[in-house]
Point group: C2
Chain length 261, copies 2
């Protein structure tokens, strides 16, 4: 059982930011990553559709005999995680809680901004979780739907990026937030220009925290793989588009071999 892989899924390539941190923290673990590239993006789709897609992704990873699943997609984590946890037996974690915990630790003025896809922000998953942990915190949710597309088209800096950032994040300056959670796995690739625009604001990228939480879950369930030095990594995609490979290089800074479903 310990030798089984950790399953990680995302709507596409964004979850690789999470994959990368898990790989770094737990080099001995085997990991199976699934990117639903045929149906990407999830960010502007309805709750019922996201639950349907997420369930199908889970079933695929279960067929691949994984020992736990990391939902490395903020939209799925926001809208489908509770449902998945309800119906499936194996340990499942999302990316919301890790980001929230980190933000609560670093914010001094208790004014926190959250950015994500339309579905993530509209679901209020971040806002509600923060409020449940500390009622006094003021949370500002802002959807930034163009960010995913900018990243996927390779725009990581330049005037188009800066223009979009100022358009979406201007409000955070006015509202004097001191911490912003990157509530979408694509956004860490825009961290630099965002930091540049939001001077002196702490930027929380949940990927590292998710890796720590993954390790905790494995320890608590006695599933940690202690025998391996270097685990095997396999990447599955639902569309054979070669663009996954190109984007993966952008995220992981190395080339990978993908397997089509």
């Amino acid at each position: 059982m310990k030798n089984r892989a950790i399953g990680v899924f995302d709507s596409g390539v964004g979850g690789l930011t999470v994959f990368k941190e898990i790989e770094k923290l737990l080099p001995g673990e085997n990991i199976k990553y699934f990117g639903d590239t045929a149906r990407v993006p999830y960010g502007n789709k309805s709750k019922s559709t996201i639950i349907k897609f997420s369930t199908e992704n889970m079933l695929f990873l279960l067929k691949e005999k994984v020992k736990m699943v990391v939902v490395a997609c903020n939209t799925s984590s926001s809208l489908a995680l509770d449902y998945l946890k309800d119906i499936f037996k194996i340990p499942i974690i999302g990316v919301i809680e890790a980001g929230v915990n980190k933000a609560l630790t670093v914010s001094s003025n208790r004014r926190i901004g959250v950015i994500g896809t339309k579905s993530t922000i509209d679901s209020k998953s971040y806002q509600d979780l923060i409020k449940s942990k500390d009622k006094k915190i003021v949370v500002f949710g802002q959807s930034c739907p163009l960010f995913v597309h900018l990243v996927e088209e390779g725009f990581l800096n330049g005037s188009l990026v800066n223009e979009s950032i100022s358009l979406y994040l201007n409000r955070f300056i006015k509202e004097k937030v001191d911490t912003v959670i990157l509530g979408c796995t694509h956004y860490p690739l825009l961290k630099k220009p965002i930091s540049c625009y939001l001077k002196n604001v702490k930027i929380v990228d949940s990927a590292k925290e998710v890796a720590i939480q993954t390790k905790e879950v494995l320890i608590n369930n006695d599933l940690l793989n202690l025998k391996n030095i270097r685990g095997k990594k396999v990447f599955y995609v639902s569309d054979e588009s070669k663009s996954f490979g190109d984007l993966a290089e952008l995220f992981l800074k190395r080339s990978i071999k993908t397997v089509k479903l």
Copy 2:
């Protein structure tokens, strides 16, 4: 048979530009429109995936007993139309040929630009068809992947739009094209800022030509509905997202009722 509807499908909402022109030219026809909003966009997916999705869309419309199908999506038309025509009996038309014929009529200097999604431009469907009709014409294909997202996020003008236009279309000015085909059903919504940037260039939007071709196909197959004054219009979507309705208003300038699959 004549009373059956015309089927129109698109990856999402963009095909409504075509729907609108068919409705205008053939007001008596019943029309069933299907937008595959659960799997939108098609523009950066592989040929095999687009053929799979397009076939499923056809099967849905056939179950709805349509008398002909208009593939109102440039990506599907580029990558799946030949396949669909091969395997299905009813008349099927795409959007490529109509745009090409129009461009050949209006270009004087025989230097034509084509813009579209990555999959459309990479497929060379426009470029090859133009070349097959007139070898001497010089064609410049340019994919503009951000345009769809700008339109879907409601950016139809302003600095972000102008920045993107200059980024993608700068080359057409250098190459002195005198005609540009809008090879994606979303692009007509950016026609104004594109015309502004490409001064004195003829902009070809194939929607009107597709409507004319639809009428011809109906006449040739003795399928024209002559009894109706005003046809019934039904809209189906594969995702229940309310954003389809909002976007539809943008495209049609009226509100519609959608039916989820």
